[in-house]
């Protein structure tokens, strides 16, 4: 290889290296630009006072643009019929037990409706069904409705923060 040739190769490599580094930096910037904004991320907390709720009542609150179902359970309904991993879906707040979950169908994200007479959640989109503990019993939904991260402060529920009760519930602690 002649002197000139290797010099040209070297210049080519330097140029290519610079171009690649610049390209990667640009790609990173583009990816970041599509990321959710800090203000969006920060607006992710909701506090609900549960003390005025009645037994058997379902309340829907909004958290991060998603509906959250809160169902105050009568004492006889303890979800104990469920297999072990899903048994502990109830949270104790004050002296009552609540079911707290994201009210979006785990299939493709429609909002299931609570049918109190039948005690099921029914998703109209593709016919999925969940029992009164939020566990999928029929149709395409692949898993029970998800539990949102929460923290308990007295009789208040703070959505968006991972408290010890939440960690216990999802088996993180």
């Amino acid at each position: 290889m002649s002197m000139a040739q290797s010099r040209r190769d070297f210049l080519g490599m330097v140029f290519g290296g610079f171009a690649a580094a610049g390209g990667l930096a640009a790609l990173y910037a583009m990816k970041r630009t599509w990321d959710p904004l800090p203000s969006v991320m920060a607006a992710g907390f909701t506090t609900v006072d549960l003390s005025p709720m009645k037994e058997g009542e379902l309340r829907t609150v909004t958290w991060r643009g998603k509906p959250i179902f809160i169902l105050k359970k009568p004492p006889e309904e303890n979800c104990n019929h469920l297999p072990d991993e899903t048994k502990k879906r109830l949270v104790k707040i004050g002296d009552s037990e609540y079911l707290v979950m994201i009210g979006l169908c785990t299939h493709l994200g429609c909002i299931p409706t609570w049918e109190p007479e039948k005690k099921i959640f029914h998703c109209a989109c593709h016919g999925g069904e969940y029992d009164a503990c939020g566990v999928n019993t029929f149709g395409p939904p692949p898993r029970p409705m998800d539990i949102p991260p929460f923290k308990i402060e007295g009789t208040k529920l703070v959505l968006g923060e991972e408290g010890p009760e939440y960690k216990k519930l999802v088996g993180k602690a």
Partner: protein, 466 residues
């Protein structure tokens, strides 16, 4: 520098600098098209016209549209529809064109399949066409979000959620695509950008590429005859117009094209003025509400067949959930047409009517896609769920069978049919809950997918007419 002499006319002056005469010859006056083709070959020009209409009507809508979740709905339904002079016209033209463009795309695609215009050197035409189908789909989907009605919102919610099915990165990917935890303002603005800028640019480049890919293999014809285009063109230029098998694009072919286009435009403007409602779902005239799902969510008609493939699987099979299977089938359905030239094991270029089993295959495909489209719109309850399953499995089975059909391997074909029928029976038992998630059904699916993926690789090419 080239040598320039004094020009005697404006045209000559331009011709010296831009070679207009030569350009026109290459693009039109000496671009040769076979004589032996029917009205189905005019769909390209129809599509080009529809795309132009979409761009022009889109420009006028863009002057008043506001990509903001608080303003979008009113800017469309109040400002454009009621205040802007002829705003309703642009909107109806845009919406109807977006819908019928898919009708013509499907006709164009099925014509290509029927006449085997995707093989023997024409693979790149087929692939660039399929890329156009995908980009048009993205364009239609992003555009449907803009009026920010209930259907815009929930279709966006459901479709973006599909990405959550991708292993490991799914959940983060969905948030990244939306720019928020749910479909909201950042989602609208980024899809607005895609709809009015990025997608149209890509589509225009792909159209150029699609045309270019036609230059070397040339347009196919009704009999699949191999034509020596140079020799036939010489004949034509020598005045033997009757004997020649080709005609120039301009002015001969285009006159036929323009006639078909004329008929089509009557149909199009009839829809624009009298039946625009078919392209505008009434549910979309309710403003988007993240807290209220419409009772029944469905996409526009042209996505229904693949949507039904997604919904078709209603029971879990061992470790695979109904949703995973639906997603896999949906993924396959969306890319499988790209591979048509390789699933078809016969080299012969001829209309389906002259290719035996392929003729039946073609019409079964059309029938299955029609069933999928109809059932895609129905609520998937009761027996509808089972019909959806049959049609969805049938769609995959057709592609699993294609190599065997085209290579005339009777044994293999019987095997595919047998496994498919067994899947139908197993699905029916599952539907009536007579069968648990048995090992049988897992084995059946395993064999089915094995046939699907291995067939095109191992079946040998037969080639030629026998």
């Amino acid at each position: 520098m080239a040598h320039f002499t004094k020009a005697n006319s404006v045209y000559e002056w331009l011709d010296q600098r831009l070679a207009l005469t030569k350009l026109w010859k290459v693009l039109a006056a000496e671009y040769w098209v076979p004589k032996n083709i029917n009205f189905l070959w005019a769909m390209g020009v129809v599509l080009m016209t529809m795309f132009t209409i979409l761009v022009i009507s889109g420009i006028f809508l863009l002057m008043y549209y506001k990509p903001d979740t608080k303003l979008a709905f009113d800017s469309v339904n109040y400002t454009i529809m009621q205040e802007v002079w002829y705003g309703w016209l642009w909107r109806h033209m845009h919406a109807v064109a977006a819908s019928v463009v898919f009708l013509v795309i499907y006709i164009h695609m099925l014509t290509g399949i029927y006449y085997a215009s995707y093989k023997r050197g024409r693979e790149m035409i087929w692939i660039s066409g399929m890329l156009l189908f995908v980009t048009f789909s993205a364009e239609a989907f992003s555009g449907y979000m803009l009026p920010w009605g209930q259907m815009s919102y929930w279709a966006a919610q459901v479709i973006t959620n599909l990405f959550g099915g991708i292993p490991f990165i799914g959940d983060d990917l969905v948030i990244w695509i939306r720019g928020n935890f749910y479909v909201s303002d950042p989602t609208l603005t980024r899809f607005f950008m895609l709809h009015v800028f990025l997608m149209p640019i890509i589509i225009m480049m792909l159209i150029g590429f699609h045309f270019y890919s036609l230059r070397i293999p040339h347009v196919n014809n009704q009999e699949g005859e191999e034509i020596d285009f140079d020799a036939e063109a010489e004949k034509y230029k020598a005045g033997l117009k009757k004997e020649s098998k080709v005609i120039p694009f301009w002015p001969v072919f285009i006159s036929k094209d323009l006639f078909v286009l004329g008929v089509f435009m009557i149909f199009y403007f009839y829809l624009v003025f009298y039946h625009y409602d078919f392209a505008m779902d009434p549910i979309n005239f309710d403003p988007a509400n993240p807290m209220k799902t419409p009772p029944h969510i469905y996409p526009e008609w042209y996505f229904l067949w693949s949507y039904e493939v997604l919904r078709g699987f209603f029971f879990n099979v061992g470790p695979l959930s109904a949703m995973d299977m639906g997603l896999i089938a949906f993924g396959i359905a969306n890319i499988i047409f790209f591979f048509l030239p390789w699933f078809d094991k016969n080299d012969e270029v001829a209309p389906a009517a002259k290719r035996g089993g392929f003729f039946i295959w073609f019409w079964l495909l059309v029938a299955d896609m029609i069933v999928l489209t109809i059932w895609g719109k129905l609520p998937p309850t009761g027996f509808n769920a089972y019909i959806g399953y049959v049609a969805a499995v049938g769609f995959l089975a057709l592609f699993a069978a294609l190599p065997a059909v085209t290579a005339r391997k009777k044994g293999l074909l019987s095997l595919v049919i047998l496994v498919t029928l067994a899947l139908y029976i197993a699905g029916y038992l599952e539907y009536t809950k007579a069968l648990g998630n048995g090992i049988v059904i897992i084995a059946l699916f395993a064999i089915f997918y094995l046939l699907f993926f291995l067939n095109p690789v191992f079946v040998k090419n037969r080639g030629g007419a026998q």
